[in-house]
């Protein structure tokens, strides 16, 4: 599904990804954890083309990102830490915009699909609200529904709960959990360790621009091999 081969990415002098390689199979849910500045978000952003990698090869469903350009991005949806909903459009408007404009789907069909997605994320009653009238958790659930409206094969979550008040984290994680059960391929950058442990098939631990551990959750959380992972987990868990 996704294959990354020795990816490098720098911002000026600062090298953010230093030889990242991994593979993700169809239907896997991957959590990406690690300290701030370890390159987690940049890795996700590179997958969907928000950042251009300096070297290495990325394949999405066997197609090289470098060669095909835009085509591979269409297979992915992304959810941002800051929601990035379109503030001038209603919830419904946010959901039908891209299907209509990009895919040319008829308005009635797009609305029907959007209504089903809003039901799924529990926000049917908010379809005519503007984003500013929603709570953070509701905004993020709309953002997830908006990404799903494009029917992506792969969903990327970039710290989806990091800007939420603690009491709103649960409702967003529930929606993502439901998606994991539907076997959508997912990559989730998160600081929610309990969630990462429950929901993921594998966990990538990143540090200094590299994936230093790629293993099943039990291995990382119950029996971490490296001292760096132990230190990180101790720090994170003491904060929570």
């Amino acid at each position: 599904m996704i294959k990354a081969n020795d990816i490098y990415k720098s911002f000026g002098e600062l090298e953010v990804l230093s030889g990242v390689s991994f593979e993700v199979e169809q239907g896997e849910a991957i959590s990406i954890i690690g300290p701030s500045g370890s390159g987690k978000s940049t890795l996700l952003r590179s997958l969907i083309g928000l950042e251009e990698i300096n070297s290495g090869e990325l394949y999405i469903e066997g197609i090289s990102v470098r060669e095909s350009g835009k085509k591979t991005y269409e297979k992915m949806g992304m959810v941002f830490q800051g929601f990035n909903l379109f503030p001038h459009k209603t919830v419904m408007g946010n959901l039908i915009e891209a299907p209509m404009v990009v895919k040319g789907i008829k308005k009635s069909a797009a609305r029907a699909k959007a209504a089903a997605l809003l039901k799924k994320v529990g926000l049917s009653d908010k379809k005519d609200s503007f984003p500013a009238q929603l709570s953070g958790g509701q905004k993020q659930r709309v953002a997830i529904a908006r990404a799903l409206a494009m029917e992506p094969d792969i969903m990327l979550f970039d710290e989806p709960t990091s800007s939420l008040d603690p009491e709103l984290v649960g409702e967003v994680l529930t929606v993502i959990r439901d998606l994991a059960e539907e076997n959508i391929t997912m990559l989730i950058v998160t600081h929610e360790m309990g969630f990462a442990r429950d929901v993921s098939d594998r966990v990538f631990f990143m540090d200094h621009g590299q994936i230093i551990s790629d293993t099943v959750p039990e291995k990382i959380f119950v029996n971490p091999e490296s001292e760096r992972i132990q230190n990180f987990l101790t720090k994170i868990l003491s904060q929570n």
Binding site: F80, N84, F86, M150
Partner: protein
């Protein structure tokens, strides 16, 4: 007395026809020029940016009256002779276009980078992103500044009297000289106030309309 006011009002109203025409032509084309200029300024094409920066620097940094003189009395020296109305319209469009370029550029740049990223990951191209996501949000933010310019334009339009265009103010001045009465000036002032008030109201309605979000 009453008859005189009606009479002079009619005369001034005829003059204001030119004012309205100039206003309309300037409003339409300077906004178009402003949008094009703003998109050019954020295009990240260095040559285009330099040219546009020079343009806004010159036209915002020199008096409109000088620009008007230049178009009407200066250009003929270079072999380009314009009638008063085209000279005035051209000057106003280019001058207001420079202000709108800066206002619109500021508005577009105030939109969060996340909006572009959200549009991009949904598969929207540059044109779709600008026309459907960025510019509609910009409109709301630039309304107050645009409203100011729209009122300035009403008042600035009186400058065309100096190149012999028979506008609202010139009609009033002719009446003042002819009749040796101050009333035409008062009537002119009332006309300007009415026009300005209509414009303020229109913009207030627009701002209300856009206030449904945020």
């Amino acid at each position: 007395m009453f008859d005189y006011i009606i009479n002079v009002s009619g005369y001034i109203l005829e003059g204001s026809l030119i004012t309205f025409q100039l206003y309309l032509v300037t409003a339409i084309f300077s906004v178009i020029l402003g949008i094009a200029g703003a998109l050019g300024k954020i295009s990240k094409i260095p040559l285009l940016e330099s040219i546009l920066s020079f343009y806004t620097w010159v036209f915002r940094g020199t008096p409109l009256l000088l620009q008007l003189f230049f178009a009407y009395y200066g250009l003929p020296v270079l072999g380009i002779t314009l009638e008063p109305f085209p000279a005035a319209a051209l000057t106003f469009i280019v001058n207001y276009g420079a202000y709108f370029t800066e206002i619109f550029r500021g508005g577009i740049e105030s939109i969060n980078e996340g909006q572009y990223e959200a549009a991009k990951v949904l598969g929207m191209n540059y044109r779709q992103t600008m026309s459907r996501i960025i510019i509609p949000q910009t409109v709301k933010r630039i309304l107050p500044a645009t409203s100011n310019e729209a009122i300035n334009l009403v008042k600035d339009s009186a400058l065309v009297a100096v190149i012999g265009l028979g506008d609202l103010l010139r009609a009033a001045k002719v009446a003042v000289t002819r009749d040796f009465s101050i009333i035409p000036f008062i009537i002119a002032a009332v006309f300007y106030l009415v026009i300005s008030s209509v414009i303020v109201t229109v913009f207030r309605k627009l701002e209300e309309k856009y206030s449904v979000y945020e």
